[in-house]
Amino acid sequence: MTHDTVIRTDDLEVTYTGKREVTALNGVSVDFSENKLTAIIGPSGCGKSTLLKSLNRLHEIQPNAEITGEVYLEDDPVYETDEPLPEIRRRVGYVPQKPTPLPVSIYNNVAYGPKIHGDYSREELDDIVETQLRKVNLWSEVEDRLDSPGAELSTGQIQRLCLARSLAAEPDVLLCDEVTSALDPISAEQVEETLADLKEEYTIVMVTHSMEQAKRLADDVIFLYLGDVIETNDARTFFENPQNERTQEFVEGHAAVEYDDGDDTAPDSTADAPPAE
């Protein structure tokens, strides 16, 4: 990869302990370049969300996750560090797979990050809220009802609200976990457009189930399979000339059936497992 690396993992290994021990990542070392959109793809349950969350230690809110290895954010370690966790998570923002508003008004959803991290006047907050809502193309739809509950918006609007909310915390890196999977095709397209605009300014890591979406948006692609990185390459090479046999199968198998990923009803089902080896 030729661009500056913003975040990289070094031999990251994550295990979920409990009755049934699951090793979700076996020693993953990957780089994410600045102002690029990197797509993480792979079959259900292969560890995509785990990899994404381990980048800002969000998996730690699950009490049974154990991790070894290290993540470097602009060369500063994320795990072996004295920096408070909230500060790391501000720099590496996370947009959840299931669009979830905070139980407050639209305005306060966006203002939440700035409020907890900084000390802003009401005017400055007004400004931030407007800027971020414009950035995600939501402003015109909500400008006259900023005080109504975020929960009263449509799912697609909520997902854009979540994006705006994450951007308002001024992250360097944005982690997006299947952000269009809960959306109808039109909302999904709007969110995609937003992401395409955003990658000029932010380093984005996106998990997706849709090959088409990865083709449209990604600069780089990481293919995960059962906790291992099988292939990582720039998007063009990845899709047109996959180096690995399994990647080839996965890409072809999906390109044939997937057109636009609007559905993701059973993320843990084995229905979309890769072709048997």
């Binding site: 800002n56 969000l58 809110i61 009490p63 909230p86 500060e87 790391i88 998570r89 501000r90 923002g93 996370y94 947009v95 959840p96 299931k98 979830t100 508003p101 905070l102 139980p103 407050v104 008004s105 939440y112 990050g113 907890i116 991290h117 509950p149 975020g150 929960a151 009263e152 979540c162 909310r165 994450s166 915390a169």
Partner: protein, 285 residues
């Protein structure tokens, strides 16, 4: 029996039991409101008139002392119990304690929940005797707060548990601390928490046994936190046992005041909870 007969039979039983409950409730509430209302409305001043010096004997004056006593005991107790139970409920969530710890604490809470209130009354009385104090308003507050605590904690814990995990994840994902996240989760669980607070308040204001041994059965206006006081349920008990017919009729007036207050509270809590429910993220994780 064929499937449809089975279904009809079950439907009949379900409706019959619901009707029975509603009928009994309507009877109790209706009789109290009707008879109490009749006494109360002919002379509403009894609720705001201090008792005469021989109130229990001749019914002179009113029962303002018990109305105030109830307020002065149950309102502060509810504030104390709400604070404690919210803190406990937050602690019981997985961000703060392991599953085993919260299981053990929950077991104790269940035991507390099932303990008859008179036991709390006797317990606090023992403390009062041990420290050589007298029954007084402040001990009534303590006893009622202990009684309300497990009830409110259960409600708050369940409300917090059923708040979607995604809300927590979203908050942490924005760089919130545990405390900030707890506040967001509380916001999401507010309708359930409010229901618990009102339930605790209603149980507290209706309970006689806890107050009997701790604040006493004073027939004078409450004189301060360290003076004896009494509450409406105790008053009603004593009124109903009086030889004087007028005092006995006051028991209905006092019941009317109590039941109307509780109904008003429940309605208020529904309205309040409804307002906050608009903000709660739709559906569960």
């Amino acid at each position: 029996m064929d499937r449809y007969a089975e279904q009809r039979l079950f439907g009949f039983l379900a409706r019959a039991s619901a009707a029975l409950i509603v009928a009994v409730l309507l009877l109790v509430v209706g009789v109290t409101i009707f008879r109490g209302g009749r006494v109360f409305l002919t002379d509403p001043a009894v609720a705001i008139t201090p008792p005469g010096s021989r109130y229990m004997l001749d019914g002179g004056g009113g029962f303002l002392h018990a109305v105030l006593g109830s307020l002065f005991i149950v309102v502060p107790a509810t504030v104390v119990a709400t604070t404690l139970s919210l803190s406990t409920a937050v602690f019981l969530q997985s961000d703060y304690s392991s599953e085993r710890t919260s299981d053990v604490i929950n077991m104790f809470l269940n035991v507390l929940w099932g303990t008859p209130p008179i036991v709390y009354g006797v317990f606090v009385l023992t403390v009062i005797i041990a420290v050589g104090a007298q029954t007084s308003l402040i001990f009534g507050i303590v006893a009622i707060a202990i009684f309300q605590y497990p009830i409110m904690t259960r409600y708050a814990d369940e409300a917090l548990q059923s708040a979607p995990d995604a809300v927590k994840e979203a908050s942490y994902g924005l760089g919130a601390t545990r405390f900030e996240t707890a506040r967001v989760t509380i916001r999401a669980a507010l309708p359930g928490i409010i229901a618990g607070v009102i339930m605790g308040f209603a149980r507290g204001i209706g309970d006689a046994a806890t107050v009997l041994f701790t604040a006493g059965r004073s027939t004078q206006m409450p004189g301060g936190p360290f003076e004896p006081a009494t509450t409406l349920p105790i008053l009603i008990f004593e009124q109903a046992a009086s030889f004087n017919a007028e005092v006995r009729s006051h028991a209905y007036a006092a019941s009317f005041v109590l039941i109307v207050a509780v109904l008003a509270l429940i309605i208020a809590s529904k309205l309040l909870a409804g307002r906050y429910a608009r903000f709660a993220p739709g559906g569960r994780q």
